[in-house]
């Protein structure tokens, strides 16, 4: 894939001690920005991406040539209006779009790091991205937001830096990965590791790629992003370019063909080891672990204004889990609003054209900026 030379990067000099104990330094952090930072530097929004996202949140992704993953949200006059705000989005460490990750080259050996990459956490990702505030000389962000794993990073950001953002909008997320979340991630990892081309994570050295495993991982995950109703309405039992079933294991049904396609295009843009590391980081996410399950304690020092959004048909990060964050914030009398948006589009709703979601996000952000 081309376009990698268009990736903006900083090299972070400041050492970062990861949760696993390893310290990293002089590591690359890839980012993209949209809109302009104003003179007062009070219009900066940091957007955090989800599991398979990257820094190209809007516009055209120069590597994949596809629209950015949050094109519905970020842009002129959109929910995060780039006529008004300066939007920063970084590729998480562990990712594969230019930030320090398993597909980075090890300086000593000159080879890809692969499975020797240290295990990272959501906390590590957020601490790495915090360096961008220094880079842009921003003392305090106006807003931090993101959905799914991006929402987890929002929560972690406020927990780590309680006075560094005026408002926070965690979307379709959870403060602690559930057994079901971990189970689905494990399924994906096992699919990758069961591929003979994975080679214990050293596939790059042998010029192989565990495409089948990664593709199955994506197919399984993709199902969790949609709702049963959404799938039924879109595909039902419709057959794929045939009049009748063929009594074989070809893709008879459209849903099979669709999933296979989603799996096949995913392997072109995503690194299998990155998938292992990032899903692991999500599984380790348990924000109130250090406060013995007391989530309120985590946020007790913040004056940040929260707005939490969930979706009715999201069964991966259901409303009840989002509401637990609201309850924890209420318990400390934090400034928190909450909306469950009606949508049949499942967990993926936060990435799609869901007007109630986009309008509410815009109204909240714009009203908060005025004050």
């Amino acid at each position: 894939m081309n376009g990698f030379d268009e990736i903006k990067k900083i090299i972070v000099k400041k050492p970062l001690k990861l949760d696993c104990g390893v310290t990293i330094t002089d590591y690359p952090l890839a980012y993209e920005t949209y809109g302009k930072l104003n003179q007062d530097k009070d219009n900066a929004i940091m957007v955090f991406h989800a599991l398979t996202g990257d820094q190209f949140a809007s516009g055209k992704n120069p590597v994949t040539n596809k629209d950015g993953w949050w094109s519905y949200v970020i842009g002129p006059n959109k929910a995060l209006d780039t006529n008004k705000y300066f939007v920063i989005c970084a590729n998480v460490i562990g990712g594969c779009m230019g930030s320090y990750g398993p597909s980075s080259i090890d300086k000593k050996s000159g080879k890809k790091i692969g499975i020797n990459f240290p295990v990272i956490t959501i906390n590590d990702m957020v601490n790495a991205q915090f360096n961008l505030l220094d880079h842009f000389n921003i003392d305090k962000l106006f807003c931090v937001t993101g959905g799914s794993m991006g929402g987890m990073q929002v929560l972690q950001f406020i927990a780590n830096y309680p006075d560094k953002s005026k408002i926070a909008v965690p979307i379709a997320c959870s403060a602690s990965h559930s057994a079901q979340n971990i189970a689905f991630n494990e399924l994906g990892r096992q699919a990758i590791m069961a591929d003979e081309n994975w080679k214990n994570g050293n596939y790059e050295l042998e010029n192989k790629s565990p495409d089948k495993g990664l593709s199955v991982a994506r197919m399984a995950a993709h199902i969790t992003y949609l709702s049963k109703k959404g799938l039924q309405e879109k595909f039902g039992r419709k057959l794929q370019e045939r009049d009748n079933i063929k009594f074989g294991f070809d893709a008879d049904f459209q849903i099979e063909s669709y999933l296979r396609y989603q799996g096949s295009i995913f392997v072109d843009r995503f690194d299998a080891n990155s998938y292992l590391y990032i899903t692991r980081a999500m599984d380790y996410f348990d924000l109130s672990k250090n406060s013995k399950g007391d989530l309120s304690e985590v946020f007790k020092n913040t004056k940040t204004k929260f707005f939490i959004i969930s979706f009715t048909s999201d069964w991966l990060y259901p409303t009840a889990e989002n509401r637990e964050i609201v309850i924890a914030l209420n318990a400390i009398n934090a400034d928190v609003g909450f909306l469950e948006v009606k949508s049949d589009k499942g967990h993926d709703s936060f990435l799609l054209d869901v007007p109630d979601f986009l309008n509410s996000l815009k109204n909240f952000v714009d009203n908060s900026y005025k004050k």
């Binding site: 209420n330 909450f338 909306l339 109204n363 004050k371």
Partner: protein, 198 residues
């Protein structure tokens, strides 16, 4: 703005913290936010209304008071407002005890089932009353536990709830309710407005 909201707003001191339970589209909240106190939050069950509140720049949590009030800590607000919603709860008694726990002062308003038009409907027409403050028919009313001004006053007395201000509203006219005029006000008032404390 309706007279009821003006009376509620006038009962609130400047810059105090307020929780408006069942805040609807945020009309009262917005008035209070702009004129009395910025420290106001709402709880509302309808998604449409929550979105209207967000459009107005108000902080609102989508939720159901009967389930969600328990999450608010004790004495966390100076005022808790419950406007014409008490009668729609499955367990109004529990909601009142949550109000008293959360708020230092609670402002409760009720459509008065003792109002003469209500009594007239039932007595002479023999049908469930439909009035300005009780606009629904029996088969589609959200109201489960109707009470009169006198019922509410008795309830507070029995539970030793400090009912320190009682007002009656009819045709946009406000008057005080006291021991002597209770029976009369119970007959002539459309709405009761009560300030209560633990």
């Amino acid at each position: 703005m309706k007279e009821e909201f003006k009376i509620i707003a006038n009962s609130i001191q400047k810059n105090k913290s307020i929780l408006d339970i069942g805040c609807g589209d945020g009309e009262l909240m917005k008035f209070i936010y702009e004129n009395i106190s910025k420290k106001i939050r709402g709880l509302e069950i309808s998604k449409d209304n929550v979105q209207k509140c967000i459009r107005k720049g108000l902080t609102v949590i989508e939720g159901n008071a009967e389930m969600d009030l328990q999450q608010f800590p004790s004495n966390s607000f100076d005022y808790v407002i419950l406007s014409q919603t008490l009668q729609a709860f499955l367990n109004p008694e529990k909601v009142i005890s949550d109000l008293l726990r959360i708020g230092k002062t609670s402002i409760v308003t009720i459509p008065n089932f003792g109002f003469w038009k209500v009594r007239f409907n039932l007595l002479f027409k023999g049908t469930m009353p439909v009035t300005k403050t009780l606009p629904n028919e029996w088969y589609n009313t959200p109201n489960l536990h109707m009470c009169s001004i006198k019922d509410f006053v008795n309830f507070c007395n029995n539970r030793k709830i400090n009912l320190f201000k009682s007002l009656a509203l009819t045709n946009n006219k406000v008057s005080s309710i006291n021991k002597l005029n209770l029976n009369l006000k119970n007959l002539t008032s459309e709405l009761g407005i009560f300030l209560i404390e633990k």
